[in-house]
Symmetry: C2
Amino acid sequence: MTQTSSILDANAFTGTSVDGSLVRRRERALGPAYRLFYREPVELVRGSGVHVYDADGREYLDAYNNVACVGHAHPRVVEAVARQVGRITTHTRYLDASLVGYAERLLATFPAALDRVMLTCTGSEANDLALRLAFAATGGTGVIVTEEAYHGNTALVTGTSPSLGAGAAPGEHVWTVPAPDPVRRPGTPAEVAARFTAAVATALEEMAAAGVRPAALLVDTILSSDGVHAHPGGPGGLLAGAVSAVRRAGGVLVADEVQPGFARTGEHVWGFERHGLVPEIATLGKPMGGGLPIAAVVAQEAVLAPFAGTTPYFNTFGGTHVSIAAATAVLDVIEAEGLQRRAADVGAVLAEALRDVAARHPVAADVRGAGLYLGVELVAEPGSTEPGGALAADVVNGMRARGVLTSVCGRFGNTLKVRPPLVFGLRDVERYCTQLDGVLTDLGW
Amino acid sequence: MTQTSSILDANAFTGTSVDGSLVRRRERALGPAYRLFYREPVELVRGSGVHVYDADGREYLDAYNNVACVGHAHPRVVEAVARQVGRITTHTRYLDASLVGYAERLLATFPAALDRVMLTCTGSEANDLALRLAFAATGGTGVIVTEEAYHGNTALVTGTSPSLGAGAAPGEHVWTVPAPDPVRRPGTPAEVAARFTAAVATALEEMAAAGVRPAALLVDTILSSDGVHAHPGGPGGLLAGAVSAVRRAGGVLVADEVQPGFARTGEHVWGFERHGLVPEIATLGKPMGGGLPIAAVVAQEAVLAPFAGTTPYFNTFGGTHVSIAAATAVLDVIEAEGLQRRAADVGAVLAEALRDVAARHPVAADVRGAGLYLGVELVAEPGSTEPGGALAADVVNGMRARGVLTSVCGRFGNTLKVRPPLVFGLRDVERYCTQLDGVLTDLGW
């Protein structure tokens, strides 16, 4: 693996493109900020359920894409989008019963205290707006995020996304805290939680010393880009102590549910529920529209009011009819097909199967996660704690060659990110694990 | 009209909602940042071409919505979206020939110097990214915008959107300059341009005095929210002198084409072309996908490089297949139906017809614009220069009652904003002007 400054680069194409090739044309048209997955990039032209197909008709098992949470090209999503786009798609300055109905239905999946929703198009817009709600509600400006957090691409939230690497300067009032590291800093759940709480307390002290008032702990509730740290669920979860400290100091919890949300963790619809917490603000995104661009901020009325009562908010495409139609179909399918239960059940089988692979290949030093969101952390060699970043890159490219799409995450780019559509089944578990086993064997481990 | 703090409120529903009504349910679910158009809000459920229909089956002429630029539910857009969503819609980390093809085709509509495009979902994201390109390219942080500008809803660009009102604090390094005001500060085109240039020069001097390096003049090239100021086109246009001054001071021009772009102004595809200028950066949005959420930043390679060469950029839904399919269909229709020419031709007839109405009702003190983007400025009474904000609110609500959808803009909320789908025809011109004539007569003018 080439040296990279960002985990976004850890699974990036770094080859030389050929004149006239699609890769070269893409580089010329889009410029250098864009990345492609894999040493040999994939051109996907069709999908169905957990399967995607490239331009040559080759089939792949998709174990990475959470946006198509109910499966690629799900007939109910396709039909809802096609029907709505043939009728009308406008904006929230006109009344729309489907928007209001969806908003009410979405809010019903949250604890009662979270009773307002604002619609955006992207998780980035949702986190950007959420922080401004937090600023207005607390009078503070200080934000705490994890060391390898990713919360989006606007100017404000790029400053809360250290995983973007050295090019993305941290925000002026942003403090970072280490995520758990079960390989290099093992401990009981209580010890790991205590360390996280202590790190947040230290950040709060530094803020106080710098004269910065805390506004929010902004955290992905399964710590996706930090390497997938689900932590055992329940009231004594990873975040409880840290959140108490933030609240005592006047800040709020912004739960970033863009990746863990919408039933993926199996036990609950929302990741924060695993921690036994009710956030002041939650942000939603990727899977919300099953592929259509829609995202949201859900907040407690009193937290929303200081911002929303003084600043009109309009987002031309936020809550447009066609996105609401898609999002409604996604909720329909999650319910009709029992996908939350499926995420729990199939996720448990997948975790067990990955642990079997890890037992045969001890370079896989840790298997963790919740539901259908798992991480497999690789080390440089068995028994070592040295991160296996180069190995992870070899593994994801080997999996790609074997027809399985997966990627990496974590501070060292050494954790396989297993985040498939929620319709992933037992045959898919077997296929993923068989190929992972084969790749690790091929690589000599 | 009630006193409002923002032009976004100028045509807002301010009534009291009834328990259990859709309006009340919406207020409860979405909170107080949201606005509805009209004293009696409209619930739109279907559209076709320039016509939209409410839940009771009533038909309206749409003279406001530019997103559906090729007309509501255009069959080619509908078909492209339905077909693509049934195949796949993923993201830019996989190769996509349709994305690359679209990017090349879009860039071909720009002057050759503008040779890179980055895809976002909203105009807000586009302007947010554009400013960061400008910051990185110039080393500056100072931004100049017009007094009633609107450039979006992220934290960064809310600071460049004084039209949002007192709740949206201006950015730290944001200077504002007055837009032209043909009613209260008339002058020849050269005089108006000289005033604008002088205001920008003053802003640059103030920046220098404050130790702030200029980064950009960020300007909607038809000054939409300032009240639609097209200015006579050509090299001696409104912006040329100001842009020269900004460039001499080290800054760049960011041309916000979110509203004027995609052939609306008739003479050209892009609004900046009317001014005889080539911007370093242009931002696109609303009409780009004909209703699907897609937007973009187009930039010169050398201006893009300092940002894009150091910061990876990923936008999950930016350039997703389904949005590209819609955007491709929009370009197809604009070409196949000759909509740029139509915007010029029908726009000229519309402007003339509106001037006829104004001649009969001199409270309509000014008719201006380009192509199918026109403004009709109302004063409180004939011969006065007092802004007719209350009258404008009465007019748009009267038009709504007569089955024509239009809205207001400008510093005083007193300019009718006429921005219909580009398939607006001569019968639509007649209908709009007949109803406007009737409303003004009914109101005693």
